[in-house]
Symmetry: C2
Amino acid sequence: MTNPVVVEVTRGAVVESAHRGAVAVYDADGGSVVEIGDTDRPVFPRSAVKAIQALPFVESGAADAYGFGEKELALACASHSGQPEHVELARAMLAKAGLDETALECGTHWPSSHDATVALARSGGSPNALHNNCSGKHSGFLCTCRHLGIDHRGYVKAGHQEQEMVREAMEAVTGQKHDADHRGTDGCSIPTYAVPLKSFAQGFARMATGQGLGPKRAAAAKRLLNACMAEPFLVSGTGRADVTLMQAAPGRIFVKTGAEGVYCAAVPELGLGVAIKCDDGAGRGAEVMVAAVLAKLLKSDTALAARLIEIAGPAIESRAGAKVGALRPTVALA
Amino acid sequence: MTNPVVVEVTRGAVVESAHRGAVAVYDADGGSVVEIGDTDRPVFPRSAVKAIQALPFVESGAADAYGFGEKELALACASHSGQPEHVELARAMLAKAGLDETALECGTHWPSSHDATVALARSGGSPNALHNNCSGKHSGFLCTCRHLGIDHRGYVKAGHQEQEMVREAMEAVTGQKHDADHRGTDGCSIPTYAVPLKSFAQGFARMATGQGLGPKRAAAAKRLLNACMAEPFLVSGTGRADVTLMQAAPGRIFVKTGAEGVYCAAVPELGLGVAIKCDDGAGRGAEVMVAAVLAKLLKSDTALAARLIEIAGPAIESRAGAKVGALRPTVALA
């Protein structure tokens, strides 16, 4: 099936580009609330499931053993912008486990934040693995290995005990087998598994409600989502959609972006999870989609819904700062 | 009509994302050679038509009056990466006309080249309008105004004499009315007009052959395309697809990217023009499309076609540099 056009990109009075995609909103029991497009198609969740991937970090006792609070838990779920606060917190997490950035196997890239890149270059610095947007997640992996006495070398590889714990958590939360046939390698070198989009929606409903997870896992899930909602900047970075969305309704909306146009989200008060894939992989499309879907789910709070609809319609500006177009959700999302 | 999937993005054995789009290949008389998807839909050509927009710069005598050669003509058609060579050449063009960067109305942004951004920041510098990827085109506009004795202030606005000359050239080359109903504002603040995709294909066949343009315009078109093919780096920047493609067949392929997934191209030896739109606006999709279409058109040169097919299948790498996926054209482009 061909997914519908869900986002239009306008310039003047003309639709210049368009994004297709799929949306699943589920409850923890697998009840479908919203279904747009093909939600059975396997999708790599990429970084949108970092909160699930962080479960072993909490469940193993590592996070408590090192005295970590909401800030460190949020960073363990982050795709951060490589701003100094992110880099220093990841460094501090590793230090607690007696490690430094040389233990990270996520690779190095300049900060995702353009301002942070400019500041780093101006200072004469160069990036290291701590600037990688996944360094918080990897710091969580490394702390887990150290706490459990596992040799951390090769911790990114499929089959390593750390990735087996992550895979078990992913399978339990999504209810889907994660097999080698649907395995890819993520940008940060760990395995990522393509499973039906809808299973991430149900999975995040479970994360938000604890239903179907067992008490220990339910408690860990709640701590992780609460940490992200309490510290949205640490999960993301200045000016980014995840921060804007979570700050629009503090403690009420969890969202997490993933590469290639993926979003996972949860609305704990409704007991619902959301999973989104923009077919072409565009982050800008997925951002409009998630904001529009959250506005729909939370429409009874008219002020919040209005704010979410505003977020779902960002302006496109010329280099001189004039508004020349916009993104907008289509009726398929209304 | 729904355009076909033309490009797939793989990770491991899974198709992670996909791009839809349309392709038109025409001769100068309006004969259709390749037609994929809806080529009648109006599309903003954005920067892909800079060579047409530069016609008044040559036809007015401005380029000759200031002693400009292929380098300056190439830069006038460029979406450059803001590397020092681009910036200094734009500065020199303006100086010939007694102007400097304060006359540019394109707005300011950091260099498109990440390396150039880092180098500029390391040197303690900040960008000005010369770093804008369109500064070469705007320098051409300003030189044209000065040569003709036109007040250059407001030269980016619809209705200014410079933009009227550009619009006349666009209408003549594409054979399409450029009216206010289909007008948008480009990123660099000048008007851009949405007309059927196929008319850009025919237009670039005219640019490459001179057919249907009249002798003076035909000569200017030939000079501009030849300048771009002679100086691909000045039209683009280090490592970018336009450079790679034009260097694959020096003097035989003209290509020019535009924002929101557009490409225009010409193959002078075949008398053909190409116009491409990736529906969702993705540059990566449009790059695969144009390389695959050029491979198809030039298949009788088996070595060149093989090189173009290679360019049409770039790898996707993890941050650690491992190949984890690829882009590839679908059978719709074969």
